[in-house]
């Protein structure tokens, strides 16, 4: 062993060891200081951080209140739904198995990838939503592949369920994610981004009543966000159930009456203003908004030429056609221009202000008294009445009945309708009124354009003797139950002469019951009165020349407005059928269906009401 046992001087080396020893001690002091700083000086701070690390608050979404009809039947409910989300930390593990996951969930692989990509840029506390509203098959697939996809999480949430699908869609409204603009308003201050709120209809107007208070669960999670234990739970408080004035059976009868046709219908109890049914067609399925609706679906709905999102019962106005003749009659009688025994002669047309105005009956109606004028809807009679009365008086009485004004219904986006007057024309069109324009207004054409709800209310108000209530979909009692104050400021009243009431109501009865234009609205045992209306979409010539699809498109719009029983209204309704042809053929049967249901429900047990003899 050469290395061993030779002489060597190890003093130099040995003396330097002591310096290394000092260095070693310094190293340990350095580490000791680090530990002391971290564990003793800053121990409290880091304890807090450790707690924050592992405690996560999970929102327990409060179910919204149910929406019921006036008899307590559930229209809108909640159902459990499952959302599949992915923990952000597990993105990488998913990327290798997207194909399997996509096929298991019946998703396009590209869709899945884009979904993940979309969420990648969102804040990290939001889980990546893979698929909403899982089917039982999806759930089974996820359960059996738990090990392959460790980061997947199934969250249970209540989801809005509109039991009747498209039925009353516009009335009920729909939900949607609260918008950024809304978040800045007082009304939606309670929301967090991503919350679902009412966006239209009852869901929107009574959003606060229907909205519950979300609960919270504090859980201990591991670094993957998996729940390990529950610390505490604050249960969510469900929203209040809201009872509407709507009668589901009447609503259903009206909806069914439309078939494939577009249009709208409103029925209400004129004694209280309670709306019994409110239909707008074509409709949409509010269920499709209960989850995050895709942009394309939304754009498709908005751009649909048939405008399914428009609530035609309150947001659209239509020329009332002959329906307006009733307003003319009421105005004429109240003004004293029309008197019992008043009659005119119809030769099929008349010349006024140098222009010829035709009646719909070519040969003319001959001698026309007031009752016949209403029942046969004679144009010439009303042209001349209009000329005699003048636009100011027509407008005055129409306004008295709430036409051309908002009714104040507790739904959003109500249109005012147009009841023209010289003042209106000056203000809106910046032009003077021509006397000839009054003649068109007299038969419900020209500028006059009404909403369904205001027309139903006007007829109902007449039927109750001149009290025009504010229509509403939630009753006063129900509003008070939830601490809301009803706003009935649009209520109107005027004294209707007994004579006016008798003549007009009998006329309306005649339209339905005397082989008039509205006989299909008749309900045996229930004295239905009403008036048809037909509004041209295009001129008669174009209509005749049309073929194929255009033929249906150029078909007249049909109205029927009525109430029952005629001596003391309990229910009033307005129906509008797009391209329905004559009001008596397409609109009157819908009134019949609604009134029949109402009559069966309310009058049957007490026996048939008294028949009024008109002759």
């Amino acid at each position: 062993m050469a290395l061993k046992d030779f002489y060597e001087d190890k003093r130099y080396v040995q003396s330097r060891i002591a310096i290394i020893r000092v260095a070693a001690i310094l190293v340990f002091l350095f580490l000791l200081a680090g530990l002391w700083n971290l564990q003793v000086l800053q121990g409290g701070y880091y304890k807090e951080l450790a707690e924050k690390n592992q405690i996560r608050s999970i929102t327990l979404v409060a179910p919204r209140g149910k929406i019921l009809d006036r008899n307590g039947q559930i229209i809108v409910d909640n159902r459990p739904s499952f959302t599949l989300s992915l923990m952000r930390e597990h993105l990488a593990s998913l990327e290798s198995s997207t194909a399997l996951l996509a096929s298991g969930l019946n998703l396009e692989e590209d869709f899945l990838k884009s979904q993940v990509e979309k969420h990648r840029r969102q804040p990290s506390y939001l889980p990546i939503v893979i698929k909403e509203d899982l089917t039982p098959a999806d759930l089974a697939f996820i359960e059996s592949h738990r090990l392959e996809f460790p980061g997947l999480d199934v969250i249970r949430q209540p989801r809005r369920f509109y039991r009747e699908g498209q039925l009353a869609a516009h009335l009920l409204g729909y939900l949607g994610e609260v918008s950024e603009k809304q978040l800045e308003t007082e009304e939606f201050r309670y929301c967090k981004p991503g919350d679902f709120v009412g966006k239209a209809g009852v869901e929107r107007v009574y959003n606060r009543t229907l909205t519950g208070v979300d609960g919270q669960k504090r859980v201990i999670v591991d670094s993957r966000g998996r729940e390990v234990a529950v610390l505490d739970t604050v249960e969510p408080t469900p929203g209040n159930d809201l009872r509407l004035t709507i009668d589901l059976d009447i609503q259903r009868a009206a909806e069914n009456g439309f078939g494939e046709k577009g249009g709208a219908a409103v029925s209400l109890d004129p004694r209280s203003g309670e709306i019994l049914s409110l239909v707008s067609r074509p409709a949409f399925d509010p269920n499709s908004f209960s989850s995050r609706i895709s942009k394309k679906e939304w754009v498709d709905l908005i751009n649909d030429p048939r405008k399914p999102m428009q609530n035609r019962a309150i947001q659209s106005r239509f020329p009332p056609g002959s329906v307006f003749k009733i307003i003319m009659t009421i105005a004429g009688l109240q003004e004293g221009i029309l008197k019992p025994g008043y009659a005119d002669y119809c030769s099929g047309s008349t010349v006024l202000y140098g222009r010829s105005f035709a009646c719909h009956k070519k040969g003319g109606h001959g001698t026309v008294d007031l009752h016949k004028a209403i029942v046969n809807s004679c144009n010439v009679f009303f042209y001349r009445l209009g000329q005699k009365m003048g636009i100011e008086k027509i407008a005055y009485w129409a306004h008295n009945m709430g036409l051309g004004q908002k009714t104040g219904v507790d739904l959003l986006g109500e249109d005012t309708g147009i009841m023209p007057s010289p003042e209106w024309k000056k203000r809106v069109l910046k032009a003077d009124w021509y006397a000839g324009e009054t003649i068109s207004v007299a038969i419900g054409q020209g500028y006059v354009s009404l909403t369904l709800i205001q027309t139903a209310r006007a007829f109902g108000g007449f039927g109750t003797g001149g009290i025009f209530k504010t229509p509403h979909v939630v009753s006063v009692e129900e509003l008070k139950r939830w601490g809301l104050t009803p706003d009935f400021s649009t209520e109107k009243q005027f004294t209707l002469d007994e004579q006016t009431f008798q003549i007009v109501s009998r006329g309306l009865w005649g339209v339905v019951n005397e082989w008039g234009t509205g006989r299909r609205a008749a309900v045996p045992g229930f004295d239905v009165g009403g008036k048809t209306g037909t509004a041209q979409v295009v001129g008669r010539e174009a209509q005749k020349a049309a073929v194929g699809d255009k033929k249906a498109e150029y078909e007249d719009n049909a109205w029927f407005v009525g109430y029952a029983p005629i001596h003391s209204a309990q229910i009033a309704a307005a129906v509008f059928v797009e391209h329905g042809g004559h009001g008596g053929e397409s609109a009157a049967p819908i009134i019949h269906d609604m009134f029949q249901v109402y009559y069966d429900k309310n009058n049957k047990p007490g026996g048939p009401p008294m028949q009024i003899s008109m002759k």
Binding site: M1, A2, L3, K4, D5, E8, D9, K10, Y12, V13, Q14, R16, I17, I19, I20, R21, A23, A24, I25, V27, F28, F30, L31, L32, G34, L35, W36, N37, L38, Q39, V40, Q42, G43, G44, Y45, Y46, K47, L49, A50, E51, N53, Q54, S124, I220, V221, D222, S223, R224, V228
Partner: protein
């Protein structure tokens, strides 16, 4: 040769071995605690086997007279270089570095074992120099001996492990005698090298240095380790959360908690009291080893012991420092505590060297 071993048995250093076993035992307990919810593998059991293998290797190393080891070091050195090249060629990549190689039934990190060889090689070279100060040629030769393996490890690339070779050289040169001009020169050179090296660092290496200076700049990415480790250790407080009770550990917030970051688990579960106890055990080993160096029979013994001390000391400084956030993060294990076969075996072999020197301290 083994016949002589019996003669030395009474000088076997029970003290240092018991200290080492105490640390290793704490390691096993904390590895178990850190991986108790990981049913895939029984890490703590595997660690026990490795400690037993380590003890066996320690006995082997201490049984062979260290002069014989030094005599044969050229073969060991050559084998080491071959192993490191083999890793570069056939190694398995773990988080961007090729530092593992499969040896039959288990995987080895050769760089850990090569450290032992470098300690012996440098000791052998330095002990033959008789002057008070090292000549420039000696310094360059010593640097070359350490430099070749360092270079090969850097190529993996595993800068952290490569760094752990440097203290062997520095301590060796220091003991060998550096002229003041050399120390000043080395200081200037180090600054220049740091500047130049900065441009040659890989992006992730730079990022690690940035995040060391300011972990919060990237709390989910590179700063994550540092922040979570500090939270673990800091939240342990003075007395700790108790074994198996560390939430950071249990809930998986701590990455690499049973390997490089095992000391965070110690800090979280055993608190300041436990962490200082462990540091004290390490200090006693170092202290004892330095004592052995001082009473060593010859310079070879001194260099061997101090080389081993330098490796242990640097690992402790860097690993514990990184866990408490006062050193940058590198992937180097804590001797005896961290889970990992190569590290445990290398550490016991270094202890074997130290005991070897102690057993043969008498000239006759």
């Amino acid at each position: 040769m083994f016949g002589k071993t019996a003669l030395y048995a009474k000088d076997f250093d029970w003290f240092i071995v018991l200290l080492a076993l105490a640390i290793a035992l704490i390691g096993v307990v904390e590895i178990h605690s850190a991986t108790q919810y990981d049913r895939a593998e029984n890490f703590y059991l595997k660690q026990i086997y490795r400690i037993l293998i380590g003890l066996f290797l320690m006995v082997v190393v201490m049984s062979i007279d260290y002069h014989a080891l030094a005599e044969n070091v050229p073969y060991l050195y050559a084998a080491s270089v071959v192993a490191l090249v083999a890793v570069l060629l056939f190694g398995r990549s773990v988080s961007g570095s090729k530092s593992w190689i499969s040896v039959g039934f288990f995987e080895l990190q050769p760089s850990e074992l090569v450290k032992v060889v470098v300690v012996i090689a440098l000791a052998r070279f330095l002990c033959e120099i008789r002057s008070e100060h090292l000549a420039t040629a000696d310094i360059l030769k010593a640097s070359a001996i350490a430099g070749l393996p360092i270079l090969l490890v850097m190529l993996q690339p595993d800068l952290g492990s490569a760094m752990t070779f440097v203290p062997i050289l520095i301590v060796g040169l220091f003991l060998g005698g550096l002229r003041p001009t050399w120390i000043v020169g080395a200081g200037i050179l180090a600054v220049l090298a740091a500047g130049a090296g900065w441009y040659n660092l890989k992006a992730y290496q730079k990022e690690r240095i940035y995040t060391f200076l300011e972990p919060e700049r990237d709390p989910r990415g590179h700063g994550y380790h540092s922040i979570q480790s500090k939270i673990a250790v800091g939240s342990g407080g003075f007395w700790g959360k108790g074994i198996g009770e560390g939430s950071q550990t249990r809930l998986g917030f701590l990455p690499e908690r049973h390997t490089d970051f095992i000391f965070s688990v110690v800090g979280e579960e055993l608190g300041f009291a436990g962490a200082v106890t462990v540091l004290l055990l390490y200090l006693l080993i170092i202290w004892r080893a330095i004592q052995i160096a001082q009473t060593a029979r010859d310079k070879l013994g001194i260099y061997l012991t101090m080389g081993a001390v330098s490796v242990l000391l640097f690992h402790i400084l860097e690993n514990v420092g990184m866990v408490v956030g006062i050193m940058p993060i590198t992937g180097i294990p804590l001797p005896l505590l961290s889970y990992g076969g190569s590290s445990v075996m290398a550490t016991f072999m270094l202890l074997g060297l130290i005991i070897n020197v102690r057993m043969r301290r008498y000239v006759n």
